[in-house]
Symmetry: C2
Subunit: 251 residues, 2 copies
Protein backbone atom coordinates (compact mmCIF):
# COMPACT_ATOMS: atom_id res chain seq x y z
CA UNK A 1 0.00 0.00 0.00
CA UNK A 2 1.52 3.25 -1.17
CA UNK A 3 0.19 6.58 -0.04
CA UNK A 4 0.38 9.01 -2.95
CA UNK A 5 -1.16 12.19 -1.57
CA UNK A 6 -2.33 13.59 1.74
CA UNK A 7 -4.62 16.51 2.51
CA UNK A 8 -6.38 17.55 5.69
CA UNK A 9 -9.43 19.70 6.41
CA UNK A 10 -12.05 20.04 9.13
CA UNK A 11 -10.47 17.39 11.29
CA UNK A 12 -10.31 14.77 8.54
CA UNK A 13 -7.06 13.52 7.02
CA UNK A 14 -7.51 12.22 3.48
CA UNK A 15 -4.84 9.98 1.99
CA UNK A 16 -4.89 8.57 -1.54
CA UNK A 17 -3.32 5.16 -1.91
CA UNK A 18 -2.56 2.51 -4.48
CA UNK A 19 -2.33 -1.20 -3.86
CA UNK A 20 -1.24 -2.96 -7.03
CA UNK A 21 -3.84 -1.90 -9.59
CA UNK A 22 -6.28 -0.70 -6.96
CA UNK A 23 -6.71 3.03 -6.38
CA UNK A 24 -8.20 4.05 -3.08
CA UNK A 25 -8.63 6.72 -0.45
CA UNK A 26 -8.42 6.52 3.32
CA UNK A 27 -10.08 9.12 5.54
CA UNK A 28 -9.00 9.28 9.19
CA UNK A 29 -9.62 11.50 12.18
CA UNK A 30 -6.88 14.13 12.43
CA UNK A 31 -6.83 13.75 16.19
CA UNK A 32 -6.75 9.95 16.29
CA UNK A 33 -5.64 8.22 19.46
CA UNK A 34 -5.14 4.49 19.45
CA UNK A 35 -6.97 2.05 17.18
CA UNK A 36 -10.36 2.93 15.75
CA UNK A 37 -12.99 0.98 13.82
CA UNK A 38 -12.84 0.94 10.02
CA UNK A 39 -15.68 1.33 7.52
CA UNK A 40 -15.23 0.15 3.92
CA UNK A 41 -17.29 2.03 1.33
CA UNK A 42 -18.11 0.79 -2.19
CA UNK A 43 -19.46 3.33 -4.67
CA UNK A 44 -22.32 2.94 -7.14
CA UNK A 45 -22.10 2.16 -10.84
CA UNK A 46 -20.45 4.78 -13.01
CA UNK A 47 -19.15 6.56 -9.90
CA UNK A 48 -15.84 6.48 -8.08
CA UNK A 49 -14.18 6.41 -4.67
CA UNK A 50 -14.67 10.15 -4.05
CA UNK A 51 -18.21 10.50 -5.43
CA UNK A 52 -20.28 12.98 -3.37
CA UNK A 53 -22.41 10.22 -1.78
CA UNK A 54 -19.24 8.47 -0.59
CA UNK A 55 -17.32 11.58 0.45
CA UNK A 56 -20.18 13.11 2.48
CA UNK A 57 -20.85 9.92 4.40
CA UNK A 58 -17.15 9.20 4.93
CA UNK A 59 -16.66 12.62 6.49
CA UNK A 60 -19.62 11.98 8.82
CA UNK A 61 -18.29 8.57 9.85
CA UNK A 62 -14.89 10.11 10.65
CA UNK A 63 -16.02 13.28 12.39
CA UNK A 64 -19.04 11.88 14.26
CA UNK A 65 -17.66 8.47 15.16
CA UNK A 66 -13.88 8.75 14.96
CA UNK A 67 -13.74 5.88 12.43
CA UNK A 68 -11.29 5.32 9.62
CA UNK A 69 -13.08 5.04 6.28
CA UNK A 70 -11.67 3.50 3.10
CA UNK A 71 -13.10 3.58 -0.42
CA UNK A 72 -11.59 2.01 -3.53
CA UNK A 73 -12.44 2.45 -7.19
CA UNK A 74 -14.26 -0.59 -8.52
CA UNK A 75 -12.59 -2.26 -11.51
CA UNK A 76 -13.03 -0.05 -14.57
CA UNK A 77 -14.19 2.92 -12.45
CA UNK A 78 -12.58 6.17 -11.29
CA UNK A 79 -8.82 6.19 -11.84
CA UNK A 80 -8.74 2.63 -13.15
CA UNK A 81 -8.57 1.56 -16.81
CA UNK A 82 -11.49 -0.21 -18.41
CA UNK A 83 -11.04 -3.63 -19.92
CA UNK A 84 -12.67 -4.60 -23.21
CA UNK A 85 -15.27 -6.47 -21.12
CA UNK A 86 -16.01 -3.28 -19.11
CA UNK A 87 -16.50 -1.31 -22.32
CA UNK A 88 -18.79 -4.02 -23.64
CA UNK A 89 -20.89 -3.98 -20.44
CA UNK A 90 -21.21 -0.20 -20.60
CA UNK A 91 -22.21 -0.31 -24.28
CA UNK A 92 -24.94 -2.86 -23.52
CA UNK A 93 -26.12 -0.75 -20.58
CA UNK A 94 -26.33 2.43 -22.69
CA UNK A 95 -28.20 0.52 -25.38
CA UNK A 96 -30.75 -0.70 -22.83
CA UNK A 97 -31.06 2.83 -21.43
CA UNK A 98 -31.62 4.33 -24.88
CA UNK A 99 -34.19 1.67 -25.70
CA UNK A 100 -36.01 2.22 -22.41
CA UNK A 101 -35.45 -1.42 -21.47
CA UNK A 102 -35.13 -2.66 -17.87
CA UNK A 103 -31.60 -2.02 -16.63
CA UNK A 104 -31.40 -4.48 -13.76
CA UNK A 105 -30.72 -7.63 -15.82
CA UNK A 106 -27.84 -5.85 -17.59
CA UNK A 107 -26.54 -4.25 -14.42
CA UNK A 108 -26.66 -7.51 -12.50
CA UNK A 109 -24.57 -9.28 -15.13
CA UNK A 110 -22.02 -6.49 -14.81
CA UNK A 111 -22.09 -6.69 -11.00
CA UNK A 112 -21.38 -10.42 -11.08
CA UNK A 113 -18.32 -9.80 -13.24
CA UNK A 114 -17.22 -6.83 -11.10
CA UNK A 115 -17.68 -8.72 -7.84
CA UNK A 116 -15.49 -11.60 -9.04
CA UNK A 117 -12.69 -9.05 -9.55
CA UNK A 118 -13.49 -6.67 -6.67
CA UNK A 119 -13.92 -9.13 -3.78
CA UNK A 120 -10.25 -10.24 -3.78
CA UNK A 121 -9.21 -6.59 -4.21
CA UNK A 122 -11.26 -5.59 -1.16
CA UNK A 123 -9.73 -8.45 0.83
CA UNK A 124 -6.19 -7.42 -0.14
CA UNK A 125 -7.04 -3.80 0.70
CA UNK A 126 -8.35 -4.87 4.07
CA UNK A 127 -5.17 -6.87 4.73
CA UNK A 128 -3.09 -3.78 3.94
CA UNK A 129 -5.27 -1.43 5.99
CA UNK A 130 -5.05 -3.72 8.99
CA UNK A 131 -1.28 -3.52 8.62
CA UNK A 132 -1.40 0.20 9.39
CA UNK A 133 -0.58 0.92 13.06
CA UNK A 134 -3.61 3.28 13.45
CA UNK A 135 -6.03 0.55 12.32
CA UNK A 136 -4.57 -2.81 13.30
CA UNK A 137 -6.24 -6.21 13.31
CA UNK A 138 -8.30 -5.84 16.49
CA UNK A 139 -10.91 -3.27 15.53
CA UNK A 140 -14.36 -4.02 14.18
CA UNK A 141 -15.03 -3.43 10.47
CA UNK A 142 -18.17 -2.19 8.75
CA UNK A 143 -19.18 -2.14 5.10
CA UNK A 144 -21.34 0.47 3.34
CA UNK A 145 -22.48 0.11 -0.28
CA UNK A 146 -25.78 0.59 -2.09
CA UNK A 147 -26.72 -0.23 -5.70
CA UNK A 148 -23.47 -1.52 -7.31
CA UNK A 149 -21.94 -1.32 -3.82
CA UNK A 150 -24.47 -3.95 -2.79
CA UNK A 151 -23.80 -6.01 -5.90
CA UNK A 152 -20.15 -6.19 -4.84
CA UNK A 153 -20.71 -5.97 -1.09
CA UNK A 154 -23.06 -8.90 -0.60
CA UNK A 155 -20.61 -11.42 -2.12
CA UNK A 156 -17.78 -9.71 -0.17
CA UNK A 157 -19.48 -9.76 3.23
CA UNK A 158 -20.61 -13.35 2.61
CA UNK A 159 -17.00 -14.53 2.48
CA UNK A 160 -15.22 -11.94 4.63
CA UNK A 161 -15.66 -12.72 8.31
CA UNK A 162 -13.76 -9.62 9.40
CA UNK A 163 -16.75 -7.46 8.40
CA UNK A 164 -19.17 -7.35 11.33
CA UNK A 165 -21.93 -4.94 10.20
CA UNK A 166 -23.14 -3.76 6.79
CA UNK A 167 -25.40 -1.22 5.12
CA UNK A 168 -26.77 -2.39 1.77
CA UNK A 169 -29.67 -1.37 -0.43
CA UNK A 170 -31.30 -0.12 -3.60
CA UNK A 171 -30.82 -3.43 -5.32
CA UNK A 172 -32.55 -6.77 -5.49
CA UNK A 173 -31.91 -9.80 -7.64
CA UNK A 174 -32.19 -13.52 -7.15
CA UNK A 175 -28.52 -13.91 -8.09
CA UNK A 176 -27.61 -12.32 -4.73
CA UNK A 177 -29.91 -14.48 -2.60
CA UNK A 178 -27.45 -17.30 -2.02
CA UNK A 179 -24.67 -14.99 -0.83
CA UNK A 180 -27.16 -13.02 1.30
CA UNK A 181 -28.26 -16.23 3.00
CA UNK A 182 -24.68 -16.76 4.21
CA UNK A 183 -24.57 -13.32 5.87
CA UNK A 184 -25.36 -13.25 9.59
CA UNK A 185 -23.98 -9.88 10.71
CA UNK A 186 -26.31 -6.94 11.50
CA UNK A 187 -27.69 -5.33 8.33
CA UNK A 188 -29.36 -2.01 7.59
CA UNK A 189 -31.04 -2.31 4.20
CA UNK A 190 -32.20 0.78 2.29
CA UNK A 191 -34.93 0.75 -0.34
CA UNK A 192 -36.59 3.47 -2.33
CA UNK A 193 -40.28 2.55 -2.32
CA UNK A 194 -40.92 4.03 -5.78
CA UNK A 195 -37.62 3.07 -7.40
CA UNK A 196 -38.02 3.25 -11.15
CA UNK A 197 -35.22 0.70 -11.69
CA UNK A 198 -35.43 -1.71 -8.77
CA UNK A 199 -38.57 -3.80 -8.52
CA UNK A 200 -39.97 -3.40 -5.00
CA UNK A 201 -40.56 -7.11 -4.55
CA UNK A 202 -37.04 -8.02 -5.57
CA UNK A 203 -35.65 -5.53 -3.05
CA UNK A 204 -37.87 -6.94 -0.28
CA UNK A 205 -36.83 -10.46 -1.29
CA UNK A 206 -33.15 -9.59 -0.95
CA UNK A 207 -33.77 -8.08 2.49
CA UNK A 208 -35.63 -11.25 3.42
CA UNK A 209 -32.74 -13.44 2.22
CA UNK A 210 -30.16 -12.25 4.77
CA UNK A 211 -29.69 -14.72 7.62
CA UNK A 212 -28.88 -11.92 10.07
CA UNK A 213 -30.60 -11.96 13.46
CA UNK A 214 -30.56 -8.17 13.41
CA UNK A 215 -31.59 -6.64 10.15
CA UNK A 216 -33.63 -3.50 9.55
CA UNK A 217 -35.28 -2.42 6.35
CA UNK A 218 -35.58 1.33 5.79
CA UNK A 219 -37.91 1.96 2.87
CA UNK A 220 -38.55 5.56 1.88
CA UNK A 221 -40.99 7.16 -0.50
CA UNK A 222 -39.33 8.37 -3.67
CA UNK A 223 -37.44 7.31 -6.78
CA UNK A 224 -34.01 5.76 -7.28
CA UNK A 225 -32.10 8.99 -6.70
CA UNK A 226 -34.26 10.45 -3.95
CA UNK A 227 -33.02 8.81 -0.76
CA UNK A 228 -33.71 11.25 2.09
CA UNK A 229 -30.78 12.84 3.80
CA UNK A 230 -31.76 11.53 7.24
CA UNK A 231 -30.68 8.06 6.14
CA UNK A 232 -27.10 9.33 6.34
CA UNK A 233 -27.69 10.00 10.04
CA UNK A 234 -29.23 6.56 10.39
CA UNK A 235 -26.26 4.77 8.79
CA UNK A 236 -23.94 6.74 11.04
CA UNK A 237 -25.83 5.60 14.11
CA UNK A 238 -26.00 2.03 12.81
CA UNK A 239 -22.21 1.84 12.57
CA UNK A 240 -21.74 3.64 15.88
CA UNK A 241 -24.02 1.02 17.46
CA UNK A 242 -22.29 -1.98 15.95
CA UNK A 243 -18.66 -1.02 15.68
CA UNK A 244 -18.36 -0.32 19.34
CA UNK A 245 -18.66 3.38 19.88
CA UNK A 246 -20.84 4.62 22.68
CA UNK A 247 -23.52 6.87 21.22
CA UNK A 248 -25.38 9.35 23.34
CA UNK A 249 -28.60 10.23 21.59
CA UNK A 250 -29.06 13.99 21.21
CA UNK A 251 -32.73 14.23 20.58
CA UNK B 1 -59.98 19.00 31.92
CA UNK B 2 -59.35 18.28 35.61
CA UNK B 3 -55.91 17.48 36.92
CA UNK B 4 -56.24 14.86 39.64
CA UNK B 5 -52.65 14.13 40.64
CA UNK B 6 -49.19 15.49 40.02
CA UNK B 7 -45.78 13.93 40.53
CA UNK B 8 -42.35 14.89 39.30
CA UNK B 9 -39.10 13.01 38.79
CA UNK B 10 -35.98 13.28 36.65
CA UNK B 11 -37.08 16.51 35.06
CA UNK B 12 -40.50 15.19 34.02
CA UNK B 13 -43.76 16.44 35.55
CA UNK B 14 -46.54 13.84 35.33
CA UNK B 15 -50.15 14.97 35.77
CA UNK B 16 -53.16 12.68 35.67
CA UNK B 17 -56.29 14.21 34.24
CA UNK B 18 -59.90 13.45 33.49
CA UNK B 19 -61.99 14.96 30.74
CA UNK B 20 -65.55 13.72 31.02
CA UNK B 21 -65.22 9.93 30.94
CA UNK B 22 -61.69 10.04 29.56
CA UNK B 23 -58.76 9.31 31.87
CA UNK B 24 -55.38 10.53 30.76
CA UNK B 25 -51.91 11.57 31.72
CA UNK B 26 -49.82 14.54 30.62
CA UNK B 27 -46.03 14.50 30.87
CA UNK B 28 -44.23 17.84 30.62
CA UNK B 29 -40.69 19.13 31.00
CA UNK B 30 -40.16 20.40 34.56
CA UNK B 31 -38.13 23.29 33.24
CA UNK B 32 -40.52 24.30 30.44
CA UNK B 33 -40.21 27.77 28.98
CA UNK B 34 -42.82 28.98 26.53
CA UNK B 35 -44.86 26.74 24.27
CA UNK B 36 -43.57 23.33 23.23
CA UNK B 37 -44.75 20.73 20.74
CA UNK B 38 -47.18 18.03 21.88
CA UNK B 39 -47.11 14.29 21.14
CA UNK B 40 -50.27 12.21 21.57
CA UNK B 41 -49.70 8.55 22.42
CA UNK B 42 -52.23 5.74 22.01
CA UNK B 43 -51.51 2.45 23.76
CA UNK B 44 -51.91 -1.07 22.43
CA UNK B 45 -54.79 -3.49 23.04
CA UNK B 46 -55.23 -4.68 26.63
CA UNK B 47 -52.81 -1.99 27.82
CA UNK B 48 -53.32 1.46 29.29
CA UNK B 49 -52.05 5.04 29.29
CA UNK B 50 -49.07 4.30 31.55
CA UNK B 51 -48.02 0.95 30.03
CA UNK B 52 -44.21 0.56 29.97
CA UNK B 53 -43.98 1.06 26.18
CA UNK B 54 -45.86 4.35 26.52
CA UNK B 55 -44.15 5.59 29.67
CA UNK B 56 -40.61 4.90 28.47
CA UNK B 57 -41.13 6.66 25.16
CA UNK B 58 -43.02 9.56 26.75
CA UNK B 59 -40.12 10.20 29.12
CA UNK B 60 -37.69 10.20 26.17
CA UNK B 61 -39.86 12.62 24.20
CA UNK B 62 -40.01 14.98 27.18
CA UNK B 63 -36.39 14.80 28.31
CA UNK B 64 -34.71 14.60 24.89
CA UNK B 65 -36.98 16.98 22.97
CA UNK B 66 -38.71 19.14 25.57
CA UNK B 67 -42.13 18.05 24.27
CA UNK B 68 -45.37 17.66 26.17
CA UNK B 69 -46.74 14.14 25.83
CA UNK B 70 -50.34 13.05 26.48
CA UNK B 71 -51.76 9.53 26.64
CA UNK B 72 -55.36 8.57 27.31
CA UNK B 73 -56.92 5.23 28.16
CA UNK B 74 -58.80 3.82 25.17
CA UNK B 75 -62.50 3.08 25.83
CA UNK B 76 -62.75 0.01 28.08
CA UNK B 77 -59.03 0.13 28.93
CA UNK B 78 -57.02 1.22 31.97
CA UNK B 79 -59.11 3.18 34.45
CA UNK B 80 -62.22 3.14 32.28
CA UNK B 81 -65.21 0.80 32.65
CA UNK B 82 -65.92 -1.80 30.01
CA UNK B 83 -69.23 -1.82 28.19
CA UNK B 84 -71.07 -5.04 27.43
CA UNK B 85 -69.75 -4.70 23.86
CA UNK B 86 -66.17 -4.44 25.18
CA UNK B 87 -66.66 -7.59 27.24
CA UNK B 88 -68.08 -9.36 24.22
CA UNK B 89 -65.10 -8.35 22.04
CA UNK B 90 -62.66 -9.56 24.68
CA UNK B 91 -64.49 -12.87 25.04
CA UNK B 92 -64.35 -13.44 21.27
CA UNK B 93 -60.67 -12.51 21.24
CA UNK B 94 -59.85 -14.95 24.06
CA UNK B 95 -61.80 -17.66 22.27
CA UNK B 96 -59.81 -17.10 19.08
CA UNK B 97 -56.58 -17.11 21.08
CA UNK B 98 -57.47 -20.36 22.84
CA UNK B 99 -58.43 -21.96 19.53
CA UNK B 100 -55.21 -20.79 17.88
CA UNK B 101 -57.22 -18.89 15.28
CA UNK B 102 -55.95 -15.73 13.52
CA UNK B 103 -56.47 -12.75 15.81
CA UNK B 104 -56.38 -9.92 13.29
CA UNK B 105 -59.96 -10.26 12.00
CA UNK B 106 -61.27 -10.16 15.59
CA UNK B 107 -58.93 -7.38 16.65
CA UNK B 108 -59.77 -5.26 13.62
CA UNK B 109 -63.49 -5.45 14.36
CA UNK B 110 -62.72 -4.29 17.88
CA UNK B 111 -60.50 -1.46 16.60
CA UNK B 112 -63.26 -0.18 14.32
CA UNK B 113 -65.62 0.00 17.27
CA UNK B 114 -62.97 1.56 19.52
CA UNK B 115 -61.94 4.13 16.92
CA UNK B 116 -65.53 5.32 16.50
CA UNK B 117 -65.55 6.10 20.22
CA UNK B 118 -61.92 7.15 20.66
CA UNK B 119 -61.49 9.60 17.76
CA UNK B 120 -63.92 12.20 19.20
CA UNK B 121 -62.36 11.64 22.65
CA UNK B 122 -58.90 12.36 21.25
CA UNK B 123 -60.21 15.48 19.53
CA UNK B 124 -61.82 16.76 22.74
CA UNK B 125 -58.62 15.96 24.63
CA UNK B 126 -56.62 17.88 22.06
CA UNK B 127 -58.98 20.87 22.37
CA UNK B 128 -58.50 20.84 26.15
CA UNK B 129 -54.71 20.41 25.94
CA UNK B 130 -54.44 23.32 23.54
CA UNK B 131 -56.32 25.37 26.12
CA UNK B 132 -53.44 24.97 28.55
CA UNK B 133 -51.11 27.99 28.52
CA UNK B 134 -47.97 25.84 28.31
CA UNK B 135 -49.24 24.12 25.13
CA UNK B 136 -51.45 26.58 23.27
CA UNK B 137 -52.82 26.35 19.74
CA UNK B 138 -49.67 27.30 17.84
CA UNK B 139 -47.39 24.35 18.41
CA UNK B 140 -47.05 21.34 16.11
CA UNK B 141 -48.62 18.05 17.19
CA UNK B 142 -47.43 14.50 16.67
CA UNK B 143 -49.14 11.14 17.13
CA UNK B 144 -47.54 7.87 18.21
CA UNK B 145 -49.44 4.57 18.29
CA UNK B 146 -48.68 1.03 17.13
CA UNK B 147 -50.97 -2.03 16.98
CA UNK B 148 -54.31 -0.85 18.49
CA UNK B 149 -52.78 2.62 18.59
CA UNK B 150 -52.61 2.43 14.80
CA UNK B 151 -56.15 1.05 14.58
CA UNK B 152 -57.34 4.19 16.39
CA UNK B 153 -54.64 6.55 15.15
CA UNK B 154 -55.08 6.13 11.41
CA UNK B 155 -58.77 7.17 11.50
CA UNK B 156 -57.83 9.97 13.93
CA UNK B 157 -54.97 11.43 11.89
CA UNK B 158 -57.09 11.13 8.71
CA UNK B 159 -59.64 13.60 10.12
CA UNK B 160 -57.51 15.68 12.50
CA UNK B 161 -55.55 18.29 10.59
CA UNK B 162 -53.82 19.56 13.73
CA UNK B 163 -51.64 16.42 13.77
CA UNK B 164 -48.62 17.01 11.52
CA UNK B 165 -46.49 13.85 11.92
CA UNK B 166 -47.26 10.30 13.02
CA UNK B 167 -45.61 7.02 13.98
CA UNK B 168 -47.76 3.97 13.24
CA UNK B 169 -47.09 0.27 12.82
CA UNK B 170 -47.46 -3.40 13.65
CA UNK B 171 -50.85 -3.55 12.00
CA UNK B 172 -52.24 -3.97 8.54
CA UNK B 173 -55.76 -4.42 7.31
CA UNK B 174 -57.71 -3.34 4.26
CA UNK B 175 -60.26 -1.64 6.52
CA UNK B 176 -57.63 1.03 7.27
CA UNK B 177 -56.60 1.69 3.65
CA UNK B 178 -59.19 4.34 2.94
CA UNK B 179 -58.31 6.42 6.01
CA UNK B 180 -54.59 5.95 5.31
CA UNK B 181 -55.06 7.28 1.78
CA UNK B 182 -56.34 10.55 3.26
CA UNK B 183 -53.19 11.02 5.37
CA UNK B 184 -50.51 13.26 3.86
CA UNK B 185 -48.33 14.12 6.89
CA UNK B 186 -44.90 12.53 7.38
CA UNK B 187 -45.16 8.94 8.62
CA UNK B 188 -42.73 6.53 10.26
CA UNK B 189 -44.20 3.05 9.96
CA UNK B 190 -42.86 0.16 12.06
CA UNK B 191 -43.21 -3.49 11.12
CA UNK B 192 -41.92 -6.67 12.68
CA UNK B 193 -40.75 -8.76 9.73
CA UNK B 194 -41.62 -12.07 11.42
CA UNK B 195 -44.78 -10.94 13.21
CA UNK B 196 -46.78 -14.02 14.15
CA UNK B 197 -50.04 -12.03 14.17
CA UNK B 198 -49.69 -9.44 11.42
CA UNK B 199 -49.37 -10.72 7.88
CA UNK B 200 -46.30 -9.10 6.30
CA UNK B 201 -48.08 -8.25 3.07
CA UNK B 202 -50.97 -6.56 4.88
CA UNK B 203 -48.50 -4.42 6.84
CA UNK B 204 -46.63 -3.45 3.66
CA UNK B 205 -49.98 -2.69 1.98
CA UNK B 206 -50.96 -0.33 4.79
CA UNK B 207 -47.60 1.46 4.54
CA UNK B 208 -48.16 1.72 0.80
CA UNK B 209 -51.64 3.20 1.31
CA UNK B 210 -50.56 6.43 3.05
CA UNK B 211 -50.59 9.42 0.69
CA UNK B 212 -47.70 11.07 2.55
CA UNK B 213 -44.84 12.47 0.48
CA UNK B 214 -42.49 11.57 3.32
CA UNK B 215 -43.01 8.13 4.74
CA UNK B 216 -40.44 5.65 5.97
CA UNK B 217 -40.93 1.99 6.67
CA UNK B 218 -38.77 0.48 9.40
CA UNK B 219 -39.05 -3.30 9.27
CA UNK B 220 -37.08 -5.30 11.80
CA UNK B 221 -36.37 -8.98 12.17
CA UNK B 222 -38.35 -10.57 14.97
CA UNK B 223 -41.81 -11.40 16.24
CA UNK B 224 -44.71 -9.23 17.36
CA UNK B 225 -43.22 -8.37 20.73
CA UNK B 226 -39.59 -8.07 19.70
CA UNK B 227 -39.27 -4.53 18.35
CA UNK B 228 -35.66 -3.46 18.89
CA UNK B 229 -34.97 -0.73 21.39
CA UNK B 230 -33.22 1.50 18.84
CA UNK B 231 -36.62 2.20 17.26
CA UNK B 232 -37.37 4.31 20.34
CA UNK B 233 -34.41 6.51 19.39
CA UNK B 234 -35.64 6.61 15.84
CA UNK B 235 -39.15 7.75 16.79
CA UNK B 236 -37.62 10.40 19.03
CA UNK B 237 -35.58 11.73 16.16
CA UNK B 238 -38.55 11.53 13.80
CA UNK B 239 -40.61 13.79 16.05
CA UNK B 240 -37.67 16.10 16.71
CA UNK B 241 -37.28 16.45 12.93
CA UNK B 242 -40.93 17.15 12.22
CA UNK B 243 -42.20 19.00 15.26
CA UNK B 244 -39.68 21.75 14.87
CA UNK B 245 -36.82 21.05 17.26
CA UNK B 246 -33.32 21.47 15.98
CA UNK B 247 -31.50 18.17 16.37
CA UNK B 248 -27.76 17.97 16.40
CA UNK B 249 -26.73 14.44 15.61
CA UNK B 250 -24.30 13.01 18.16
CA UNK B 251 -22.85 10.10 16.29
Amino acid sequence: MHFTAETSSNGVVERNFTLGEVTGVLWSPAAASGHAPLVLMAHSGGQHKRAPGILGRAQRFVTDCGFHVAAIDAPGHGDRPRTAADEQHIAVLRQAQAAGEPLVPVVVEFHIDLAARAVPEWQATLDALQGLPEIGVEGPIGFWGIMQGTGIGVPLVAVESRITAAVFGCLGHESLAEAAARITVPIEFLLQWDDEHIDRRSGLALFDAFASKEKTLHANVGGHGEMPRFEVDSSTRFFARHLGLAVTSPA
